[in-house]
């Protein structure tokens, strides 16, 4: 079987990332001629009905009080016990932080490799032959083809994989409950507090992000970014040069070690377009670069560019916006 790790929304349904993994698992299981199984934490709820439409034949429910707060060591331990008992050909999980952590623990426990951030999984042609995966490196700036040579192949799937719209022929899903053996010997951190995020626009939800880099030069320039973002209903982002200089909080940083965003429009002001920044904004629908250097990588990769000093261009854009909208 191909075992699929399901993360659940608050209402118990599979998350969007889990739906993507289920699609990948179905594809893989078809190639192997084996059934798709799923594993989730908690009660069945509506999950069997939902999974039936996604081609799942078996649902394994992990139930234990220690799994309630999502501890990766406990989830990983429970998962490793299920895998050891079922011996699936492959275990696929969403490439979210939470599932990657649990899979890493399970892989260590089982003594097998784990391929993370996979975009493609290719089984060996004959049984026992090593598999190949394609995975993202450096946040996706490079792709890596790698051999995954193990009796049980563990992989996490890079979020964003396409989900086919057609549903599988619905069939019966058998439900199996596993109460894993999680005694005090499983080391774990305890969740002691959880605070919801303040409502409001964030870098990841904003339709437009206006970002500044070294070329903006700090606080004065930042006020102009804020003003422009406010006028077009967007959020402000920045490059690592801005965070390293203390111009903006790290929460605003776009890039490999900051936030990956996919707004409708990314306005990159005084940002050169280093690879580590580019991976954070390359999924934007469109990019407008404002830069003094016409050869800057951000300019040559942008949809639109203005060649010029941000300190002249942005105030002029703001004035024109105000004129047209009468504000």
């Amino acid at each position: 079987m191909v075992l699929t790790v399901i993360e659940r929304n608050g209402d118990g349904t599979p998350t969007a990332e889990s739906a993507e993994v289920l699609a990948a698992a179905r594809d893989l299981a078809e190639q192997l001629g084996v059934p798709v199984a799923a594993v989730a934490v908690g009660d069945a709820g509506d999950l069997p009905d939902d999974l039936a439409k996604r081609g799942v034949a078996q649902l394994h429910l992990l139930q234990h009080a220690l799994l309630a707060d999502g501890s990766p060591s406990c989830t990983g331990e429970a998962l490793s016990q299920l895998v050891a008992a079922q011996r699936p050909a492959a275990v696929l999980a969403p490439g979210t932080d939470r599932s990657t952590e649990a899979m890493a623990w399970a892989a260590a426990e089982l003594g097998v490799p784990l391929a993370t951030a996979c975009t493609e999984i290719r089984p060996g042609i004959r049984p026992g032959e090593p598999w190949e995966v394609t995975r993202e490196r450096s946040g996706g700036i490079l792709l890596e083809d790698a051999v995954l040579d193990a009796p049980i192949r563990l992989a996490t799937v890079r979020p964003g994989a396409p989900v086919p719209s057609e549903t599988a022929a619905a069939h019966e899903v058998t439900v199996h409950v596993l109460v894993p053996d999680l005694d005090a010997s499983v080391p774990r951190a305890r969740l002691v507090d959880r605070r919801p995020r303040a409502a409001g626009m964030t870098l990841t939800t904003a339709p437009v992000v206006v970002a500044g880099g070294r070329g903006v030069g700090g606080a004065d320039g930042d006020a102009v970014l804020e003003e422009l973002a406010g006028l077009v209903g967007g959020a402000v982002g920045c490059s690592r040069v801005a965070t390293n200089n203390g111009w903006r909080p790290h929460a605003d940083q776009v890039g490999l070690t900051g936030t990956r965003i996919s707004p409708d429009l990314y306005v990159a002001c005084g940002i050169s377009g280093a690879t580590q920044h580019w991976v954070g904004c390359m999924n934007a629908r469109s990019i407008l670069a404002v830069n003094t250097d016409p050869e800057a990588p951000m300019v040559t990769r942008a949809t639109w560019a203005v060649i010029g000093d941000v300190h002249e261009v942005l105030p002029a854009v703001i004035a024109e916006l105000r004129r047209r909208s009468g504000r």
């Binding site: 193990a150 959880r194 409708d264 203005v306 010029g308």
Partner: protein, 250 residues
């Protein structure tokens, strides 16, 4: 309190990445090397904890002799000792890296072991969790805040829907993110001290793991010509036309 940080030597790539002729690695002939920003923050945090508690801040890497450069950088930031687990492979697979670190840590058990969330080049995002599992220690990933409280550590992380605080008994492991702190720049004095410091080298038996790189590839990119809207302030009307087309002028 004794803290140890695990770091990786990675090429500091710019805006274009060249691959070796056999495409199995990045062509580093004209590149400098660095540690990732997550790890830089881990080193800073370790140094602060050591300063505050009168403990030690160590740094460890798995790699070839050239990786001493990154250990010395960490020492110039204030780390007080360094260990290199000798591995001729510059970019070992994550199973091997974890086994090497686990072997090294069995001899020097610190109270807290810090990792970066993921290395800046390969980004396997699993070594810290493998090490924690092998050493049977609690671990938290995605950490953006560390607090010490007697024999416990509190770890703050950003979750998809808010902020979470975890508490773990010591000894513990954490994988941290940039933004944990603002790392200091090394001082001249720090650099001189680091230059003279010794790096302890250990060489445990290492077997290779079963995730092997075949080749690296550039991701296919749909490159359209950039439309230059104009130069300087004169381009403002054309910019606003674009914003209006996108429905962003309200």
């Amino acid at each position: 309190m004794d803290v140890l940080v695990c770091v990786k030597r990675v090429p500091a790539v710019g805006s274009e990445i060249l691959l070796t002729a056999d495409a199995t690695a990045i062509d580093t002939r004209h590149l400098g090397f660095t540690i990732g920003p997550h790890e830089e923050c881990a080193v800073e945090e370790a140094v602060r904890i050591a300063e505050r508690t009168g403990g030690s801040a160590g740094v460890l890497t798995v790699g070839p002799p050239e990786a001493d450069e990154q250990l010395r950088y960490a020492m110039s930031m204030g780390a007080d000792h360094a260990v290199r687990v000798d591995d001729p492979v510059a970019d070992p697979d994550p199973e091997t890296t974890a086994a090497a670190i686990t072997a090294a840590l069995r001899g020097l058990p610190p109270d807290v072991v810090l990792f970066g969330e993921a290395s800046a080049d390969a980004g396997h995002a699993q070594v810290g969790f493998r090490v924690a599992c092998a050493l049977r220690r609690p671990v938290v990933g995605g950490v953006k805040g560390i607090g010490l409280d007697g024999d416990r550590v509190t770890l703050r992380c950003d979750a998809p829907d808010g902020v979470e605080v975890h508490e773990a008994p010591l000894p513990a492991v954490a994988a941290v993110l940039e933004g944990l702190n603002l790392p200091r720049y090394p001082t001249i004095k720090g650099r001189l001290r680091a230059k003279k410091a010794t790096v302890r080298v250990i060489a445990p038996d290492l077997s290779t793991g079963r995730l092997r790189t075949l080749r690296l590839r550039h991701r296919p990119e749909a490159r359209a010509e950039t439309v230059v809207l104009g130069r300087g302030a004169a381009a403002a009307p054309a910019v606003v036309d674009v914003l209006a087309d996108l429905g962003m002028v309200r």
